[in-house]
Amino acid sequence: MSHISLNHLTIAYGGHKVLQDISVDIPDHQIIAILGPSGCGKTTLLKSMNRLLDLHEDVKIEGNILIDGLNIYDSEADILALRKKVGFLSQRPYPLPMSIYDNIAFGPRIHRMKGQQVLRQIELLEKNNTMLGSFSGFNPQVDRSRKNSEMDYLVEYYLRLAGLWDEVKDRLHGPAARLSVGQQQRLALARALAVEPEVILADEPTSALDPVSAKLVEKQFKLLRTKYTIIVVTHILRQARRLADYVIFLYMGELIEHGPAESFFSSPLDERTQAYISGEIS
């Protein structure tokens, strides 16, 4: 499975260094919180992990990021495969300009998953079904004779996985833009999951949401960590406490401290971490 390790990563916008010499191994199948005050480079660090930074101008990246032992900044790296493997949730959820159904089906269709491949993914999902105990009652029969029935199944599966199915099952073909922001974020989660990533990057995924929706998203994350590595950027200390198994603390572009959440919160080593946790700096 994916193992992510950052080695001496330095990122600069123009002449301004945003991240300095970050080295850390990211554990698998946990929720990792990247914690730190605003403007300390959290989002930059996150976006460097699936090369979304490439879309910005004037970005200079030194050092490397290894995922499964391959440097993703290698000139021959397959960016499309990388991005398929490493999903992304943005701060403000953006539905794609299409229906709810098509939002989920978009990824699988782009990756040409048809017939056989969809069936294989479904078989895998059926095996995993029992692992994710949250949806008892989900046992649809894939009616092989019906057109698109495989895709219908996939869409339903991922919407359930993101905890959105019951709210949208009657308007799957309605515009996704009409959903509430909280629902849109769970739709974004389902959409990211539908391309079967191994890692999910989430950039302050609850900051645009109301408390109830935020709680729903957090709940889904906790559920999903058995199967995925989830890296969450947050500046909310309490959220990190609630969610994280492992914490990476950034301050002014530097990696100050990282470690399992328990020891990070109970006995921080660096005085800046202590100051941050106690609320002296924010």
Binding site: G87, L96, P97, A192, V195
Partner: protein
């Protein structure tokens, strides 16, 4: 705000009032379905079907060609595909072309056609109109495509899509209402323009049967008829203007419906 709205509405109402007052008297079914009798519009009989059909051929032909060219160009000017510098140079060039008087396009088209030994024809008219419409269409499309938020593209890329896939399935959909407006804007300029097709499309009393036949058009029908000393023929010019206004209105309504339908799914 209210004053500017008032000004615009007054101008529009004034034009419509004059055109309807003067043109309605000569409006009849034969005006729409018959070709002119008496040669070169100078007779008082027959209709202007040749100009109506000609204008529609010209405007729709040129719009179609322009869309085929403008969409790829507008996308190519985005920063995923080209440098800032090249895009800005293209913008400058297009803005200059936009400001060019249409008679210059006409004269230019005429010179080129003489060079190739072509007569004025429907094809020539369509090509010159396309040239006239391109800057408007490309610039307007490019503006709306540039407005598509980077975050939306990020989302699409993060699912492992290529540039082309993101462009076609996400960016184009999101920009669709604006793209339709751009087409409408260019169409309006194209169908109403007289000077560019004065030399290039030619003139005829008949409906063209092939791309190489000369073709009549409403703006030129208005021009020629209102330049005659005969009052009845001058009134017919206003009727032609009325029909032109009606076509523009109709195309507006249709594109608004299309725009509304395509904006159902877009993200605000």
């Amino acid at each position: 705000m209210i004053i500017s709205l008032g000004l615009v509405l007054t101008a529009l109402a004034g034009i419509i009032f004059v055109v309807v007052m003067k043109g309605a008297s000569a409006l009849s079914l034969s005006m729409i379905i018959e070709t002119p009798k008496g040669g070169y519009y100078l007779g008082k009989e027959g209709g202007i079907a040749n100009a109506i059909v000609g204008s529609l051929y010209l405007a729709f032909g040129a719009s179609f060609l322009s869309i085929m060219i403008s969409l790829p160009v507008a996308f190519a000017m985005q920063r995923e595909y080209t440098s800032h510098f090249a895009a800005n140079c293209s913008r400058l060039a297009l803005d200059i072309l936009w400001g060019m008087p249409s008679i210059v396009y006409g004269a230019f088209g005429f010179v080129v056609m003489i060079y190739f030994g072509l007569r004025s024809s429907l094809l020539g008219g369509i090509i010159v109109l396309t040239l006239l419409m391109l800057p408007i269409m490309i610039r307007s499309m490019e503006e709306v495509i540039r407005m598509v938020p980077l975050e939306l593209k990020e989302i699409s890329y993060s699912l492992g899509t290529t540039k082309i896939e993101t462009t076609v399935s996400v960016v184009l959909r999101q920009a669709m209402p604006g793209v339709i407006t751009a087409v409408l804007l260019a169409f309006g300029r194209g169908i109403g323009d007289a000077a560019s097709i004065l030399f290039t499309a030619g003139y005829t009393d008949y409906i063209p049967r092939s791309l190489l036949d000369p073709v009549a058009s409403l703006p030129l029908a208005i021009f020629f008829q209102s330049a005659t000393p005969i009052p009845e023929v001058q009134d017919r010019a206003y009727t032609a203007a009325l029909i032109l206004l009606f076509i523009v209105l109709l195309v507006n309504i249709v594109s608004r419906i299309l725009g509304w339908r395509s904006s159902r799914y877009i993200v605000r």
